[in-house]
Amino acid sequence: ADDPVKIALVHGLSGSTFEAFSKQSHTGFRLGLEYATDGTMKINGRDIEIIEKDTQFKPDVARAVLAEAYGDDDVLIAVGGTSSGVTKGMLPIAEEYERILLVEPAVADSLTGPDSNRYVFKTSRNSSMDMQAQALALKPGPDLHVATLAEDYAFGKDGIAAFRKALEGSGATIVAEEYVPLKTTDFTAAAERMFAALRDKEGRKVILIYVAGGGDPMGKIKAMQPERYGIEISTGGHILPVLPTYKRVPGMEGAIYYYYENPSNPINDWLVEEHTKRYGSPPDFFTAGGMAAGLAVAKALQSTDDWDTENLIETMEGMSWDTPKGEMTFRPEDHQALQSMYHFKIRVDDDVDWAIPELVREIKADEMDIPVGRNNQE
């Protein structure tokens, strides 16, 4: 009867509408542990105790509660946080307390970049994966002309930069890069500019949309009927609540992080079944991500008896484990989990509330060239 092993989930649970995502992530994490322990919630005979901490989406609060988790609650591993800014603020705390921080579901590449440290692991995807997969889904060739639309800040610019890099050597050209201010709601002007840049081009003409916030640029641009100039729209897949808006673009192709029907593996089957049974709806991005994190923690703890942080780091570097998205691997250099993405094509079925991003093919981790953020091995 050892003490339970404590794990902290450090996410934003209040103060922003993103709190719903944190909750999905928590559900997924618990399901992950449940699956890995066959429902016993015990590893190596020790109970697992999960402690939830609310960052309130404020970096200072996040740092305080994470430090509290490591310092006062004495958790072994912390998992979090929801938004990139808040998570970035949390990174040094892990180093200070010399404990592992597993980043999920925040996406930014920089979380495994030079500012990060060797105590940080990341199961969530990053923007480079999104954009590389997106580029691959476009099947780039010399006849492809793309205009990109993104928000005018680091996230948007980095995303487009990754996309540009992914197209390099394929012969495809980017004819315009439009950046709109954050929280833009009217895309008419940007669309007109992109139409102007694309309309006279020969070959395939695509508008690539990479806007994280709301505003529904896809729907609004689609409403301007780009097809009259032979222009297609392409954008990444999205969480379920947003997918109904994709009904307006049947046949659109792109890449998605997760859609519950796409991966085919036993874990995902279990997840979909259990989730639907318990919550009446299929799992979404953050549930899958949370579960991947839960499975990673379980695997690491199961693989070794010595739960000293240094030993855990050693165990996890290069570790491969199964998730609802298939196998993931922590890259030893920057601790980013490499994973598959899914090339989809939108199918509209009137009996389904949302548009279905039907699987075209799985884009395997090794097809993508995800830049290494930092090298922990040095």
């Binding site: 309130q56 404020k58 200072d60 970035k88 603020g89 200070e96 005018d152 680091a154």
Partner: protein, 347 residues
Amino acid sequence: MIVYAIIGVIGICLLFAPMLFPDVRSQEVAARICIFIVLVASYDLLIGYTGIVSFAHTMFFGLGAYGTAIALRQMGPGWDAVLLGGALGLLASLILAALIGLLSLRVKAIFFAMVTLAAASVMAVMASQFSDFTGGEDGIIYKVPKLFSPATKLLTDDDGKVLRIFGAKANGKMAAYYFVFFGSLILYFIMLRIVASPLGTVLEAIRENEMRAEALGYRVVLYRTAIFCIAALIAACAGILRALWLKYTGPETSLSFAIMIDILLMVVIGGMGTMTGAIIGATLMSLAQFYLKDLMEIASQATAGIPLLPDLLAPDRWLLWLGILFILLVYFFPAGIVGTLSKRGGH
């Protein structure tokens, strides 16, 4: 009288915070309270003492914080970086405050409020767009001088281990806390001095009757600009303390409109035009932000059997209760806590 007793208790709690509340979260809260007391008091110099409504106060706070943060990041964790970055932040605050003040403090109050709102939002956009320096939305992390690193041993016992003073480790963390504490204390005393000085009286006169102050021979625009600059400088100093304490600087911690609203709430809860109000307001608000949720968790569990109540008391709905609490405060304590208490004492 009650007011001074409360202030005394808060003061003592803050002074001995590392010993009284050794847990990590309390440390954070205590440091946050210190910094916000300064920030709120400096804002009160404007809104409470002089009657200037500005929405740009976090901009100056942010300039101090970002100045220090960027210097620490670019130059490495040394005191030279703190000095240089802090000085640059202060200088930028001063110049901006003087410009905004001289250009627009002569116009109507609501216009000035809009100008400051515009300036603040432009600053926020700039911070987001110059992401190479500022880290954009994600902010930047950096190391602070060695003295403040938790690994630093301030005092050691015979075994070379960190000495404990009443259970609190005398390490770099404690050094950082006392740096923040005494820094805030000094700034607070400076402000106390200002409001008790002839300048303070002139400011109140301007608030009460601008035209008459002018008729007595006071150049109102200059005085207003001066206090706007002073408040900006103090806010920037608070920003420097924040940057040093947090080791992270981003829009959410030092530039966002949410902080502006926090400051406004703190000023009002405490009581405008009273330096003591800043202490009470900042303390109460910060405690609510960090602990109301825990309290509700307990309440929610305690009422688990009763229908509906546990739902309403669900900890994630703590903001709902903060909002209701806030409305009630404005109803029943229109002059703020200090204003209401001291009026009662007076009768």
